[in-house]
Subunit: 546 residues, 2 copies
């Protein structure tokens, strides 16, 4: 059997090595356009920043090492230029020599990845992008003399680069067309991330776009000129479907290659995986693009199983992701609220601000969690976490819970490893389950930060149940201060009508809401407390520039 694998990094090389382990006799050829295979894309920004000093450590394997260990014929600097499906050959060109040759195949696997989007801005030629080792080398070289940089795009890669260029002493501005960075997060979750970026010296221009790139500056839609020795375009990636389209393979409406659950394209001899393909969403079964390494590697390995004739079926994707930003960990899984709202999917929202581990043990750090829950089924629809230690753990646990069909309320029952250095007897994940369960059973009613204005306009009374000190340090306009510990004695001070209570994070508010409800009042607890309200309103107050 002749197997040709196009693209020799995450999906492609995972497929090649697995395929070899399943079939010692097959001829397996890997065609890679760039000068390297099997490199650590995800580490590239950190080499730019000098965190990963040794460039070689990004090159996990070489054609030679893969030949020795796996008997693979790996050809770098070689482009697959055409798939001739009639004659079952892949036409390849050696880039150095221009030599063209034909490789016959029984099966082809496409893992060509995605290409950085290059927005059509005058002067865009000067903007660098980051996808491979060559890009990295170019960025390292260009950033050495640079004092200022503009990064177009505030997504994962844009922000990783913002951190890493800052690390090199460069003054960085991130220009983002949306009114927030990190689109997978909801606004109230992203607000502290933006504050943190600014606190670390990164300037943000939100709701702004670059209209022109000059030789040492960029111009924004607002007219503002920004100095820019270096310009990076990081506005996302687009599936690389050139080969597939030329070969007449079907692509989807999102621009990715269409495959079935066994990774077969419209030609069953040609499979495709990774960033280049459209996936099925775990929540609604619709097509989605999820350009992430976990998925690319998994699909590559599974496609090898298919190619070797084993039974294997793809799973729909949740899109669990994380990024480190100047020490903050920002992680998500599943859908965010924006998407649920847009899809009209009835949902409940829970915000908490728990500690990474028991507060009585030194070093505990606060994190913010958000859980999205199906209003009808109690299914978990998504989660977001921002903080430091332990954020990745909680999002991974929730992603696993989603995969296992554990409902939001049942998070309360998870037995998670507890000692005071590592968690809490009631882990943050358990607490999310408590709160979700209280909403589901109607023990509590809550109000979201963005619903407060309407509630107050409709005549609700807002009661701050924190201490006088906390109130003095920052309060929601119009809130009446009645500390929770005095609430039972001071019930008659609260004017008639529906009541919204709030505390700092939602926990005391919950107890206060119970007291009020039992006293016959219509009470709701401001979800996530002052903390979430403050983050949400500060995000909303950002006036888009341009």
């Amino acid at each position: 059997m002749d197997h040709i694998i196009i693209g020799g990094v995450a999906g492609g090389m995972s497929a090649a090595t697995r395929l070899r382990r399943l079939d010692e006799d097959a001829r397996i050829t890997v065609i890679e356009r760039s000068g390297h295979v099997s490199f650590a894309n995800c580490g590239l920004p950190y080499h730019v920043g000098g965190v990963i000093e040794d460039r070689e450590s990004l090159l996990l394997q070489t054609p030679a090492s893969l030949g020795r260990r796996f008997g693979l014929d790996v050809r770098v600097g070689t482009e697959a230029v055409r798939i001739d499906r009639e004659r079952r050959v892949v036409v390849v060109r050696e880039l150095a020599t221009g030599a063209v040759s034909e490789l016959p195949y029984d099966q082809v696997l496409l893992s060509p990845g995605a290409r950085p989007v290059r927005p059509p801005i005058p002067g865009i030629e000067r903007a660098l992008s980051l996808r491979d080792i060559e890009d990295t080398d170019a960025l390292v070289t260009a950033s050495a003399p640079a004092r200022t940089a503009v990064i177009i795009g505030g997504g994962f890669i844009g922000l990783e680069l913002a951190e890493n260029l800052t690390r090199r002493g460069i003054a960085v501005t991130v220009v983002e067309a949306a009114d927030q960075v990190m689109a997978p997060l909801d606004p109230e979750m992203v607000a502290p991330v933006q504050d943190h970026l600014r606190a670390n010296g990164v300037a943000l221009r939100l709701g702004a776009s670059v209209t022109a790139i000059g030789p040492d500056s960029v111009t924004l839609s607002s007219g503002e000129q920004l100095e820019a020795d270096l310009v990076v375009a990081a506005v996302g990636v687009r599936p690389d479907t050139r080969l597939a389209e030329d070969a007449g393979l079907e692509t989807g409406r999102l621009g990715g290659i269409l495959v079935d659950s066994r990774f077969r394209t419209s030609d069953p001899r040609i499979l495709a995986v990774g960033d280049a393909v459209e996936k099925r969403d775990a929540l609604d079964g619709e097509q989605v693009l999820v350009p992430l390494a976990n998925t690319a590697n998994r699909q590559g390995r599974m496609a090898a199983d298919v190619m070797a004739g084993l039974s294997a079926h793809d799973r729909p994707v949740l899109g669990t992701a994380i990024v480190g930003i100047f020490g903050l960990r920002v992680a998500t899984t599943g859908w965010n609220e924006k998407r649920l709202v847009a899809a009209g999917r009835p949902h409940r929202v829970v915000h908490t601000h728990p500690s990474s581990h028991a507060t009585y043990y030194p070093g505990a750090e606060e994190m913010s969690l958000k859980l999205l829950v199906d209003r009808d089924t109690d299914a978990i629809l998504g989660a977001q976490g921002v903080g430091r230690e332990g954020v990745d753990k909680r999002i991974d646990v929730i992603a696993t819970a989603i995969a296992g069909g554990i409902t939001a309320s049942a998070l309360a029952d998870l037995e998670l490893a507890y000692a005071p250095q590592f968690g809490s007897a009631k882990d943050p994940v358990n607490l999310l389950g408590y709160v979700a369960g209280n909403l589901r059973t109607g023990v509590t009613r809550s109000l979201q930060w963005h619903e407060l204005d309407d509630a107050l306009a409709a005549g609700a009374v807002l009661v701050d149940v924190r201490t006088a000190e906390e109130h003095a340090a920052g309060a929601i306009p119009g809130a009446l201060l009645v500390p929770v510990d005095e609430l039972r004695q001071r019930l008659d001070e609260i004017p008639p009508g529906p009541v919204v209570v709030h505390c700092e994070v939602g926990q005391r508010g919950h107890t206060a809401a119970q007291v009020l409800t039992h006293a016959g009042r219509e009470a709701r607890n401001l979800d996530g407390g002052y903390r979430t309200w403050h983050a949400g309103t500060s995000a909303r107050k950002l006036v888009p520039v341009g």
Copy 2:
């Protein structure tokens, strides 16, 4: 309604606060024998070691604060001495005054916890135990002048104390009757933990027992005398069932109070939770004792739901647990191999030694994981992890997977948050799924460390596929060195007969086993490689003392 809660810490106080939130009108009285409620038992060892400097931070609440916030009548220094079920009163005695009174009840919740076992050794009066604040104060006082300490028992609390007394400059010896510390771990997993304890100055006496405690020493079964300014008994805990038994409530064969899935004892007006009760095991439904805080808190909260008339049902327990030992994280969930073997339950075993995060990103640390899998259903039966960063995360993810009914092979498909600082594109949990899947489908066959001797005796050839350098640094006696990258060329050097291959951790061995299998050889991969074999055999070599 009059609710009396006996025991005011994890289970009891979680019940009391929840019950108040559900029922503002109930009279809720909490009776606590010790001088404190709602304290952080799990932090006590760290106060002894000075990590948690401030004793007050262990006292999460006081009777006064609980009165203010939750309208609870909390009585410390008060013992419940008898439950008169006929007359529905709890008889309580104020310890300071000896005053006895009766409290009528509609419902009682017992959360009296467990008591440290005091082995019947001559001189045991001198041994301290650690359960509450009073014990902690005594231990702090006694350890101040001490230079040497003997801890009887190498379980979680014994080892936490070993670390914390060492921190105070005391020379610690742990005496453990079993041939290993940390019973929940299998021997090959515990070996590095024992090495680490020794490397940090803790002396271990395994398979040894204390026969007498003298005024400044202890005597072991071997006759050895150990200096001991301080002696601590940490040989486990026993459910505190005195009250329950006196009241004629049913207890089980493990010595815990028997309750149904709604925490009702044999008297439906009396509920019980926490360390004092027997639980149902998540894997076989049998009764078990799991004296852990997560479970006690969860049960307490749930029992309040039952008391308030809500629908609530207990879940069976996995017993997920973790302990930090001089920087090592040691975590477990579900059953270990010893227990599976004892129960005759057919299972498969997987050992891996992955990195906490991508190796190309600085600071990655190796961990050891062990997964236990049902041979028939592919269900996950248990897992163990030893390492540093990220061990708790992986065990929590696996515990969640078990709860969600995710099979071992399906761990391969979990989408876990990946960026190079936090994990790998193929997360350690995914890799466990890969290996388990390979065993399930028969792609690979493996051999366990303790099966090697028999396999070799039966004529198998052992091939070390590591590099010459690795082989020189430590090898399994009799192994033939053929590095994996030369294997295809040197197949005929391998003598006939079945082959066992091994590498350092199992990964290259897997590829080598595939090469051999395809070459028509009967090949098995030594699970976990040299690393697991070495740990296992070193654990086995420990000659029990006494």
